[in-house]
């Protein structure tokens, strides 16, 4: 499992430390002649509260790589196979850092990660130090690509995109349906939810919305009755809601119990719950008609539909929105390896920077990175649960259903 891609890699990381700790960290094995195996590191939360999401992202990466291997590996490297090493960062930056160092030491040519901004800040920093490309699968903090790093790339839309595009869609859907809602109340988890809300608050006035109040809450609360009752009392046209899957299940039931039925409806802003199949599976009718501005796969693409089918067979688990970016990040890397015809980190980085990948599973044009390494065509879509299915309703180009708006309350679906 520690076989190396190229001898030159070893020179780059220095004579591997065999002193003292060698027994604990693994002695390098002899380079296998062929077929060559290229090591890629994936760092995601596989245990801890983020484990369900982290696992699905890691599985997305896994699927793309398995498909490539099955199709004959990297042709420009003589059919080299790719091996994905899955590491668990336990939602701890400290563990993420250790795993990044280890994977690079073991000879990973690139890192994929990390589903938690705090961890991605670490792993990308370490990759930068070693000159190893790091493709961010999921992690929304804008700062990740704003530190002038040469090796950090992100395919996924960042926090600003998520917030701004969602607000824009909400105005669009209002116009489309000829309703004029103005007031918004926001309930948001107090880490990434607050990060999103801060941006929503800036974008809202530009689209004619007025934020009448917001309530941050700590994830994993035992009860949110009082919080949601306060939101209800704000009597706004719309409620914007950001949070994680677990909180979402609790909040949704509480909305229902408290009869919270705003005129426009409840709309998720990059909500970790509303675009998750588990949400519908667990809550059934309560989930019906809920909207969410989030990332999603491209339902109009036959390729995406095929990938989802294969994913669900391979992992016997539903394909989640997060999985899209695990899969796409891996696609970018595979495409770059093919074009670079080399595993040299500098050449690989150059190839990734020049990416123009049209065949991927997310909505939006080809994946193209700007100077900072952010995918300029990362597209947010508006989803809605319709008859137990998550449908894209905006933008029109990627929609597979018409929006139902204003969102009918529980009593009416």
């Amino acid at each position: 499992m520690t076989s190396r891609a190229r001898v030159s890699r070893r020179a780059f990381i220095g004579a591997a430390g065999t002193a003292g700790l060698a027994a604990a960290v693994g002695v390098p094995t002899v380079v296998r002649a062929q077929p060559k195996e290229i090591l890629v590191g994936s760092i995601h939360p596989l245990t801890g509260p983020l484990a369900p999401d982290g696992t699905s992202v890691a599985n997305g990466c896994q699927l793309a790589i398995e498909q490539k291997n099955a199709a004959g590996g990297i042709k420009s490297l003589g059919g080299a196979r790719i091996k994905l090493v899955n590491a668990d960062h336990q939602f701890k930056p400290q563990v993420g850092a250790a795993e990044a160092e280890r994977l690079i030491r073991e000879g990973a040519v690139a890192l994929l990660g990390a589903f938690a901004s705090a961890v991605a800040m670490q792993t990308s920093q370490i990759a930068e130090k070693h000159g190893i490309p790091h493709i961010v699968t999921v992690a929304v903090a804008d700062e990740i690509t704003e530190r002038g790093f040469k090796t950090t790339f992100r395919v996924q839309p960042n926090a600003t995109d998520m917030a701004v595009q969602t607000v824009k869609y909400v105005r669009e859907v209002c116009t489309l349906k000829g309703v004029s809602f103005k007031t918004v109340a926001a309930l948001h988890e107090n880490t990434f939810g607050t990060a999103l809300f801060n941006r929503v608050a800036k974008a809202a006035p530009q689209h004619g919305f007025e934020i009448v109040g917001n309530i941050p809450y700590a994830a994993r609360a035992a009860d949110l009755t009082t919080e949601i009752n306060k939101i209800k009392a704000m009597n706004a046209d719309l409620i914007f809601d950001s949070g994680y899957l677990n909180d979402g299940l609790l909040k949704m039931r509480t909305y229902r119990d408290l009869r919270v039925e705003p005129r426009g409806g409840i709309i998720g802003v990059a909500n970790g719950c509303y675009s998750n199949p588990t949400f519908i599976k667990e809550l059934g009718k309560v989930a019906e008609a809920i909207m969410d501005g989030n990332y999603w796969h491209n339902p109009t693409s036959a390729f995406a539909r095929e990938v989802i089918k294969q994913y669900e067979t391979r992992f016997s688990a539903p394909f989640q929105s997060h999985t899209v970016w695990g899969y796409n990040a891996a696609l970018v890397l595979l495409d770059a390896l093919e074009r670079a015809a080399s595993t040299d980190p500098a050449k690989l980085r150059e190839a990734i920077a020049k990416t123009n990948l049209k065949q991927h599973i997310a909505p939006g044009d080809a994946i193209v990175f700007n100077e900072q390494g952010q995918n300029v065509n990362a597209t947010v879509t508006m989803q809605q649960v319709q008859k137990g299915q998550i449908r894209v309703v905006l933008p029109k180009a990627y929609a597979d259903a018409d929006p139902i708006f204003p969102i009918p309350g529980w009593s009416k679906v």
Binding site: G17, A24, V25, T55, A97, R102, S117, Q122, A195
Partner: protein, 301 residues
Amino acid sequence: MPSQYVIHLAVMILFFAYLGAAWNILGGYAGQFSFGHAAFFGLGAYTSTLLHIHYGVSPWIGMALGGLAGVLLGLGSGFLSFRYGLRGPYFALVMLAFAEMLRLLFETWMSRSYPLGLPIPLKGTSLLDFQFRDKGHYFYIILVMLIAVTWLCHRLARSRVGAYWMAIRDNEEAAQALGIDAFAYKLLAMAISAFLTALGGTFYAQYFLTLEVNELFGVQISVEILLSAIIGGAGTVFGPLVGAVALQLLSEVTRVYVRAFSGFDLMVYGGVLILVIIFLPQGLLEGMRRPYRAMARALST
């Protein structure tokens, strides 16, 4: 030159040995089992970092100021808990509550401007800014810190103060009957321990360069701090180091090699922890000494 990975592992070992030793002064020598050292740790990290980011104060100065903040917090929480003679599990839980309270306060405060964590601006390598691209520098810094704290523990353990602490630990009433001001000496242990732990917070911040409230003030870090001291041997000079080596290697080896399924490594880690506590309740150091003593006895007869 060893790889950055090996250096990172070494830094983590020394770092947790250092924190364990700092905890040990209060928990091991003075016998006051704190379950909330995260409070001092996080306070140190945030003090130096906020001063650095907002006022351009060098983290080295911030480190000292963070230490002082830790002392103040230590004296405050110590005053509250020792004044009423809270001990054992009571004291442990009270410290946990203090840490949780601080975590919530910082979470609310930080989430206004830094909801996704507080990044320290990257400067490359700069001694003044306590930042180095090469992990080797951090290794030497934490090594010096560990040696200093170990030397301090060694001296304290043999001093009058150390003797008083151990007397208080073994039997507080008896110690007081002998005229030892238990309250004052416990506060002293608290202050020293809090100061050193807060310095560790700054080191951690400068090493990782991103601060996340739930990590720095969380129960998890409180546990990790005391774990190396206890597993190694509470109230011994080298216990924290032995514990840190064992635990960090165990965690690393299980995470890298024991991967039958996600979480299996943590199960094994927990299992080993259980076994060590059942079979070596006095810690690894004592466990290592036992065969040595038996051998010495065999040789001498």
